[in-house]
């Protein structure tokens, strides 16, 4: 049965839910005082027991960052961020030496993840999903490690990878998103605290879904995780990412970097359900989600697929991209972005076609409600040598109510006559006819809205792995509560 069928039940169950992840976990933590300078970076590096080369790389990034000005071309505007006012390291206190097994993990922490719907105890796990859980600045648990190692898959916190497989980290980190890429990526390169590392060896099809849950718990703390996924020749991996944060009045910065590398015939499927705290209905608080995500399809016939469901954050500003270098490589971007109340989002993708016969597909569904404002921004570039390249873009906006905004800003650049680019965009609303029709059949208004919106998003929801599809559909319903009527 299709996941959509389940939608309505889920939504009805959750009719009274608002932001259910808004609790704060009361854990003693080991937190660096606010402030950002070279000592902060040395402290983080020392905490992680990093080799010298890693520290040098961080410092190089930091020194460069000091020379940068923040961009201001994005649609959502926000007050200047005071970087000296934030904390750059927070870790649950008794995790200092790293847990050797789940038994050593603070029970309070395990309970937190259970509240989030992520049981870390392997026996309780959904079969076939390995989880790395990142709590503030550190990875607290990675499950199914042993099983993955049997087939040679490395799935561990990046802080561990730096020590365990430094050659891989050295070779690939910063190779897709260079340390000097943009303000936030550069800051991340200097202060990143944890994140996940994945290496899939040649010819291996990763036997289970890999998943990371990110959680910001500490007040006044930025989260700067870094994810690096390498799919060697002929391998396959599906990776899921989820995020939540407590409700707090101040804005918290989340500036992550995700780098994906796909070699010949390899495929990476990267799915995100982003549900950071969006702030309250007056726009107070919430996460600034400024993330740099980029994939390099380096090998022939390689494929990277980004699927994202964005319902959270006060401001979402990111463009998961694909650089299609290998001949016949494929990039995909499927996105649902929902903004309500005073949320703002400026999101989309970049598809850079360099290799021959590369193809890309962009399906973006934006839903704006309340007083929110949303922009799709996308770049499709066909380089001179991208013979036979293809792109198809479909970009639809749904507006609910007359106080929100929906904008579409595509950039299409083609230097190759045999490259074909097709772009379509539409705007629509939920018509009064549709609502009345559904209500006449006995369906109440909120359910009717959720049903219509899920229908609008169907093309994208179908791309999500099953476990996430259900969660995503629930989110669609919850995010739009109170937007009609």
């Amino acid at each position: 049965m299709s996941a959509t069928v389940e939608t309505v039940d889920q939504i009805t169950d959750l009719a009274d839910e608002k932001y259910k992840y808004g609790f704060v976990t009361d854990i003693e933590s080991d937190t660096l005082p606010p402030g950002l300078n070279e000592d902060t970076i040395r402290f983080i590096s020392a905490k992680k027991d990093e080799p010298e080369w890693m520290l040098e790389w961080r410092l190089k990034a930091f020194r460069h960052w000091l020379t940068l000005e923040e961009p201001d071309w994005q649609k959502p505007k926000f007050p200047k961020i005071d970087y000296q006012d934030a904390c750059y390291y927070a870790a649950p206190k008794n995790m200092k030496d790293g847990p050797q097994s789940l038994d050593e993990v603070d029970p309070e922490l395990l309970a937190t993840y259970e509240k989030l719907g992520i049981p870390l105890r392997e026996q309780e796990m959904l079969a076939g999903v390995a989880v790395d859980a990142v709590f503030d600045s550190v990875s607290v648990a990675t499950t199914f490690k042993a099983k993955l190692e049997e087939v040679g898959v490395i799935f561990c916190p990046i802080s561990e990878a730096v020590k365990r497989c430094p050659e891989l980290v050295k070779k690939y980190m910063g190779s897709v998103v260079p340390f000097n890429d943009n303000t936030y990526a550069t800051l991340n390169s200097a202060v990143f605290t944890d994140g996940s590392f994945v290496y899939i060896p040649k010819g291996v099809r990763c036997p289970m879904e890999l998943s990371t849950y990110f959680r910001i718990n500490e007040a006044n703390t930025g989260q700067f995780e870094r994810t690096l996924i390498i799919a060697d020749e002929g391998s396959y991996v599906s990776y899921l990412e989820g995020c939540t944060a407590p409700m707090r009045d101040e804005n918290q910065l989340h500036a992550a970097v995700v780098e994906l590398i796909a070699h010949d015939d390899a495929e990476i499927k990267y799915s995100t359900v982003q549900n950071w705290y969006p702030g309250d209905e007056n726009g107070v608080g919430g996460i600034y989600n400024f993330v740099t995500k980029r994939a390099a399809c380096r090998g022939r016939n390689s494929k990277v697929s980004w699927t994202q469901v964005e319902t959270g954050s006060a401001i979402t500003w990111k463009y998961p991209s694909c650089v299609l270098l290998g001949d016949n490589s494929v990039g995909e971007f499927y996105s649902i972005a929902i903004t309500n109340n005073r949320q703002m989002a400026d999101t989309g993708t970049k598809m850079i076609h360099i290799g021959k016969n590369t193809s890309s597909r962009i399906i973006s569904k934006g839903i704006s409600a309340g007083k929110s404002d949303q922009t799709y921004r996308g770049l499709v570039r066909m380089a001179g040598k991208a013979n036979g390249a293809r792109n198809y873009t479909q970009c639809d906006s749904l507006l609910i109510g007359d106080t929100c905004g929906a904008h579409t800003v595509p950039y299409i650049e083609s230097k190759n006559p045999s490259a074909v680019v097709e772009h379509e965009a539409t705007t629509s609303t939920i018509s009064e006819d549709q609502l009345f029709y559904l209500r006449q059949r006995g369906i109440d208004e909120e359910t009717a809205v959720a049903l219509i919106v899920n229908g609008f998003c169907r093309d994208v929801l179908q791309q999500l792995p099953m476990e996430f599809a259900v969660e995503a559909q629930k989110l669609v319903g919850i995010s739009l509560e109170g937007s009609v009527g």
Binding site: F436, Y437, R439, G442
Partner: protein
């Protein structure tokens, strides 16, 4: 079953219905006929509770209860079904999903247990078979890309699943060729039973050749001008609505 008393309805500040009285008993099939602009669709939307159709006077009693202040979904749950003249397209929402949600919403309302996916599919298969509708139509999005005939058949399918006590059929014949009309009429006739009343709204007599009513009412200028048996329809077919349009001009 349905008792309409002195119903006055205003749309955008203009009075469209100017005192309708109508009474439907259990199991009866009534036809409302009238020229364009007589208020036929206004009557059907008002019974179903569409926003913007303001009842300024009178009442609509359904199973003895005045439903004028009920929301559309509550009326649906009480057992009122409107077969739309122009069924609405809902892209991306599968017909099955939609029907299951609608049925379970009503069952919840009535305090009945919801059907699980298996029970629902089994029930749906039967209904579909009875009406000779293809399984394919269930998988497609609600009315999206359906032909005129398919849309009307889909309305009949919904009626058979939701099993209403009162069905209002608004211009069910519009946009149908004769073959499609026969199929739809056949579906409606199968769903007639002693517990179910139907109110059929139409401009043309031809539908009544296939769905034979017990009573016929002529609606013009916001009022029922005449009521009678099925022979009234034949008379209208012969003479047209001229007589009734005149009536009002003289008034």
């Amino acid at each position: 079953m349905l008792e309409i008393k002195n119903l006055h309805v205003t749309v955008d500040g203009t009075e469209i219905l100017k005192g309708i009285d109508l009474s439907l008993g259990s199991g009866e099939m009534h036809a409302i006929m009238g020229p364009n602009g007589s208020g036929k669709s206004t009557l059907s939307y008002t019974i179903a509770g569409r926003a913007g159709y303001d009842v300024t006077e009178g009442e609509i009693l359904f199973k003895g209860q005045n439903i004028v202040d009920l929301s559309p979904e509550d009326r649906a749950a009480e057992g009122i079904f409107l077969a739309f003249q122009y069924p609405v397209e809902i892209p991306g929402v599968a017909n099955t999903t939609f029907l299951k949600e609608a049925l379970n919403a009503m069952r919840r309302h009535r305090g009945e247990d919801e059907l699980d996916a298996m029970q629902f599919v089994r029930m749906l298969r039967e209904k579909v078979k009875e009406l000779g509708i293809s399984d394919d139509m269930l998988k497609r999005a609600v009315n999206a890309g359906f032909s005129g005939g398919e849309k009307k058949r889909n309305e009949i399918l919904q009626m058979s699943v939701l099993e209403p006590a009162l069905a209002v059929l608004d211009e069910t014949d519009s946009g149908l060729d004769i073959d499609a009309l026969k199929i739809v009429a056949d579906g409606v006739n199968r769903l007639r039973n002693p517990e179910r009343s139907m109110l059929m709204i139409t401009h043309y007599q031809r539908l009544l050749d296939y769905i034979v009513p017990d009573f016929v009412h002529v609606l013009a200028h916001g009022r029922i001008q005449r009521s009678g048996g099925k022979e009234l329809a034949q008379e209208l077919e012969k003479n047209g609505y001229a007589e009734f349009t005149k009536t009002d001009a003289a008034a």
